[in-house]
């Protein structure tokens, strides 16, 4: 295709991405370097016939004028990144110097909001992703041996947890595990602990969110693996059987190697998606015990005081996290493309 034709074909979509993805990134980076203006104070002398008093008031006009002139605020460099709400180098250094063993150090770090969000996001990502791959694989193998007519029905119901909005899905589960809901009451009865509430403890909240994550994403892994199983080479499987491989050995040495590229694919997609975990925290009302990076940004942006600078700094740090997570894929794609010529 000629350069010119290509240009006109790609223009609308490129423009949309440029204006609403690339520029906002630039704007987010810029905003993270600025902070709102402080209010301008002026000193007024009030004189009564007997004595003069000086009082400091906010100069509304001057403040307004300053904000008008420089809507971004004042330049503060990287200081927002380093403050207590984000990377908090000062606090980290202090915790390191006054540490009382590593446990204590990590405890102190865990009290800093950004690191707490980071810890949850990373544990969620790296616990949920392998679990959902295993569960998805097991479902795919089990469904594959079902009768043909049942398969469609099973796939239909399996798609539901994945297709509904994460917020709705998490609400549906949340109402069930609520201490008054059916599963919550069931758990209380099972463990004979009438005060058990999954919302009350950090550990249980994390487990609840991760169970939700597996429930939500396992269908994706299932569908992909199921499609992969349809292309399984029958002859290899047969020869393995003739050579006396047990069922487990067939799965271990024939099925899994065949599905390996798909496992990589699912893992990459799910790492990206789990890293942005956000809606379940709102749905499960879990912000007291678990905060993710996305929720952290959302929280800064919401409410009356929109903390744009702080949210921008967190956004930039999150984007960096995504970039690190994604770098193996990018390198691989680059190699593939080069080898293709």
């Amino acid at each position: 295709m000629k350069h010119k034709t290509f240009f006109w074909f790609i223009l609308p979509t490129a423009l949309a991405m440029l204006l609403f993805i690339a520029l906002p990134i630039v704007s987010v980076i810029t905003q993270s370097l600025f902070t709102p203006h402080e209010q301008v104070f002026k000193t007024v002398e009030n004189c009564t016939p007997f004595k003069c008093t000086q009082s400091t008031t906010i100069d509304q006009e001057a403040t307004e004028a300053l904000r008008e002139a420089q809507p971004l605020g004042r330049f503060v460099g990287l200081s927002i990144y380093l403050d207590r709400g984000h990377l908090a180098f000062g606090e980290v250094a202090q915790a390191w110097q006054s540490r009382d063993g590593f446990g204590d150090f990590f405890n102190k770090i865990g009290n800093l909001p950004f690191y707490r969000a980071m810890a949850f996001t990373l544990s969620y990502t790296f616990v949920v992703t392998p679990l959902l791959i295993i569960l998805g694989f097991m479902i795919a193998v089990a469904v594959n041996s079902l009768h043909r007519h049942l398969k469609g029905l099973v796939i239909f119901f399996s798609l539901l947890p994945m297709i509904v909005s994460p917020l709705i899905g998490s609400l549906v589960l949340f109402w069930m595990v609520d201490s008054r809901g059916v599963l919550g009451t069931g758990l209380q009865w099972l463990l004979s602990n009438p005060d058990l509430s999954l919302k009350a403890s950090t550990g249980l909240t994390w487990i609840m969110l991760m169970v939700y994550g597996v429930w939500h994403s396992a269908p994706f892994a299932f569908v992909v693996f199921y499609a992969g199983l349809q292309t399984l080479p029958k002859d290899t499987l047969e020869s393995a059987m003739i050579d006396g491989a047990t069922r487990w050995q067939q799965i271990r040495y024939v099925v899994i190697p065949h599905l390996m590229p798909l496992v990589t694919f699912v893992a990459l997609i799910q790492l990206m998606d789990n890293f942005r975990v956000f809606e379940p925290i709102v749905g499960f009302n879990a912000e007291a015990h678990a905060q993710s990076l996305s929720w952290f940004i959302f929280n800064d942006l919401g409410g009356e005081t929109r903390l744009l600078s702080s949210a921008s700094a967190s956004s930039v740090l999150t984007i960096l996290g995504v970039a690190i997570l994604l770098s193996p894929v990018l390198i691989r794609t680059w190699r593939d493309f080069n080898s293709k010529g």
Binding site: F9, I10, T13, L160, I163, V182, S312, A323, L326
Partner: protein, 293 residues
Amino acid sequence: MSSKAFKQPWTLRTASSVFVIAWLILAAFPFLWTLWGSFKVELDFFSKADWRNALTGARTMAEHGSSFTGNGYSGAWVQEEFWRAVFNTAIVCFFTVAISLTIGTLGGYALSRSSYRYTFWLLITALIFRAMPPITLVAGYLLPFFEWNLWGILPTTIVVLVAINQPFTLWMLHSFFQKIPKELDESAKVDGCTQFQAFRHVIIPVMWPGVITTGLFSFLLAYNDFAVTSMLLEKENQTMVPKIASFLGTTQTEGNVMFAVAAVVSATAPLFILVMFFQRQIVSGLTQGAVKG
């Protein structure tokens, strides 16, 4: 299982059937439970006293004289004006899908037919954009949108959702167009068509399966989005998902939880129907990216 050698022993068959049934219950039961419970009063849906109340609706019977009540629905749809949110969602979804498919098809087609190096860089950029959580961009939108008075209205949100949708749409359609043989449009060009005419008369008639699949996923993205819509829309213009989230803020008074339950069921129903009709396309769409794996 055609061959006898592949036949499983009955223990294994039973075990795998039990496993599938357990998974089915896990996947479907929460939705059925919520659907059933949405017609009850709060004390039945959250019945600490006896869980069977949620099934029989004892309290609902006592309060309304019948074991089913539409109170949650009327409260949500009429009193809390959920219909407005449904209407907004319909507008947002329709325009997002229409616009992103239109510009995505053009772009995806161009990417699949050009072999220059920049196509690779465009696709990689799209991949990076696809990986970024949408919420990280919102901080960048707010200031300009406030400044130019664009905040809170539906068109802004539609345009933003279209843009966020583009990376995915491009990848999907690009891999789909690559499967359409190049000879088709090349022969049209030999016959004197311009590139656009070749696209218009040769490619468009055969591209619908791929476009429908991509459209389904664009629809789901617009329908399910919470991060962008909750930040960029003002209260009257909210779509369903942020509206449901705002119900939650006011759940303390009795009865309001059931509004949220009813709203959740109302918002799930269209998706249910969608999966019923387009199951094949959704499955093929999910696996399409994997083929390239």
